[in-house]
């Protein structure tokens, strides 16, 4: 077992929809996909974004793309035009998630 940051086994892209953000997380190799499914749960992502995401986190699986899609509700201070944040559209939340630590063999 080795503890690594998610960025070593996955890449990601994020974007906005109203006050919600979605983060697509893609396994760098197919064999990492089951690890993502097991460890990168909606609950962990919600906890990871404490202080940023104030709503529900939903997770969707795309095994065909070795990917998970997370939708984070209420995480953009009102959304693109309203938000006071430097990143009002959550474009950098992709790598914020990739800071998360997971265990791999």
């Amino acid at each position: 077992m080795k503890r690594v940051r998610l960025i070593e086994v996955a890449h990601a892209r994020s974007g906005d929809k109203g006050n919600a953000c979605n983060i697509g997380v893609i396994a760098r190799k197919p064999e990492y996909y089951p690890v993502l499914v097991e460890q990168v749960t909606a609950e962990r992502v919600k906890e990871h974004f404490t202080g940023i995401c104030f709503g529900q986190v939903r997770r969707y699986e795309l095994p065909n793309l070795n990917s998970l899609n997370f939708v984070l509700e209420e995480c953009l201070d009102g959304g693109g035009t309203v938000s006071l944040r430097a990143d009002p559209q959550g474009k950098t939340y992709s790598t914020a998630l990739l800071r998360m630590e997971i265990d791999i063999d």
């Binding site: 974007g15 109203g18 990871h48 899609n69 959304g79 035009t81 309203v82 790598t95």
Partner: protein, 446 residues
């Protein structure tokens, strides 16, 4: 097979990309996506000052220069540049064609604008369920996201340039496919394939190596990045590629990142023309800068259109100052405390007061807290970015005069006021809802 190029991912994207898509290799269609929610609010502000405005003027300038080549090469253009005023945009393009002595058929798709018909409609916020009456007096615009069939009709009637207002982004590419391949309104799998392809290219170079995390430092020539081209087959299979000799990289990684961009439930990506199941597609690297997409499955369209209603929300202003080493982070935190105390002593009320420290965890918040603790003492500088938002203009105006004094009144070694006081901006917010399709009638003006 038809080649559909995208030359604009949003209003503000490269002004050279459309011409390069036309000049650097063969294409049949050039699609240009100008509209985002942010864009609609800018167009709305422009139109409130000048009723002749409200469309993407950049598009008209671009077409003005490119028109002779579009005519010579027979490239057809589909763009949502009409914004809130597709007829005005069409007039401007026709005027350009006339000036150049070119005979070009230009169509506008109208009917998305339902602002004048809101009274009596029982509309509820898609996210919160709140009734429209909550914002009724503050509404600025209301537009339904139309589908691809009005675009198909315009092409079928011979338009070389099709200008739409609000429509689903991927519909810009789906319209030409329906027209060329004679797909039917219930060919759900084919329509879904078109949506997947349209989604792949709708954000321009974000699918050809731009904003791509996989091996980003090895992606060649981002300064000359090629914009995407979709080679679409009648059976719904397709290849995402770009012109030979251009920069960037089309890989399974870059296409996957883009397919996941701005989606919700991947099994039910809803559009006006069909549902698309993103869990059904298979990607394969077919060669350098060529990725195929196959197997898209679709589902019947719903009986409603999504509508985006914009309304006046209030005002905001954001300013910044930069503190240098030593103790840059602690100085920025002190600056924040001073500003907050000033606002309190002035008795100003805000809906939101927000501060963040650029260079010290602004983007990633608490997720970056741990490395920040180690780094904080050595940071060469930290930018304090401070903003407020209120329903009323007055407290925001007053706030805007509070940042500058920090340079003389606060912690030392501070800079960043070259751009003057922060500007007070009106905030236009969005209110999403659904309306029955029977309430909307799209029309093609040709």
């Amino acid at each position: 097979m038809i080649r559909i190029a995208n030359g604009q991912g949003f209003w503000g994207d490269s002004i050279d990309a459309p011409a390069e898509q036309v000049r650097k290799g063969p294409i049949d269609y050039l699609t240009l996506d100008y509209l985002a929610e942010v864009t609609m609010s800018i167009l709305q502000k422009q139109m409130s000052r000048d009723p002749q405005a409200g469309y993407a003027r950049d598009f008209v300038e671009m077409i003005d220069g490119l028109l002779p080549e579009l005519v010579r090469r027979g490239v057809r253009v589909v763009a949502n540049a009409g914004g809130l005023n597709p007829l005005g945009c069409r007039e401007a393009v026709l005027a350009s064609a006339n000036r150049q002595g070119l005979d070009v058929r230009v169509a506008a798709v109208t009917g998305d604008d339902i602002l004048g018909r809101l009274d009596g409609m029982d509309l509820h916020n898609l996210d919160t369920g709140a009734p429209l009456s909550e914002i009724r007096g503050r509404i600025r615009s209301a537009n339904a996201y139309l589908g691809a069939f009005p675009i198909k009709e315009a092409l079928g009637r011979g338009a070389q340039i099709v200008i739409t207002g609000r429509c689903a982004d991927a519909a810009l590419a789906l319209g030409p496919m329906i027209h060329e391949f004679r797909w039917g309104a219930t060919d759900w799998d084919l329509l879904a394939a078109g949506i997947v392809g349209g989604h792949a290219i709708e954000c321009g170079a974000q699918v050809t190596g731009g904003n791509c995390q996989m091996d980003w430092e090895t992606i060649p020539d981002l300064a000359g990045i090629g914009y995407p081209i979709l080679e679409m087959e009648a059976d719904g299979s397709m290849v995402v590629t770009k012109h030979t000799g251009t920069g960037g990289r089309v890989s399974v990684a870059s296409v996957t990142e883009q397919l996941l961009y701005e989606i919700g439930n991947p099994r039910a990506y809803l559009t006006p023309d069909c549902g698309a199941d993103f869990t059904s597609v298979r990607l394969r690297q077919e060669g350098p800068d060529r990725v195929s997409i196959r197997g898209a499955r679709g589902a019947p369209a719903t009986d409603s259109y999504k509508v985006s209603i914009s309304y006046s929300y209030g005002y905001k202003a954001t300013g910044w100052v930069a503190y240098a080493w030593p103790d840059a982070y602690r100085k920025a935190q002190a600056g924040d405390r001073i500003l907050r105390e000033r606002l309190e002593r002035l008795g100003l009320q805000f809906e939101a007061v927000h501060s963040e420290y650029l260079g010290a965890g602004a983007c990633h918040g608490i997720a970056a807290a741990e490395p920040l603790q180690e780094l904080a003492a050595q940071l060469p500088e930290v930018v304090l970015r401070f903003g407020v938002r209120a329903q009323e203009r007055q407290p925001v105006e007053r706030f805007a005069k509070e940042i500058a004094p920090l340079v003389l009144n606060g912690p030392p070694a501070v800079t960043g006021l070259g751009s003057g006081r922060p500007k007070v901006e009106e905030v236009i917010a969005y209110w999403p809802t659904l309306i029955p399709k029977s309430e909307v009638k799209a029309e093609v003006v040709l």
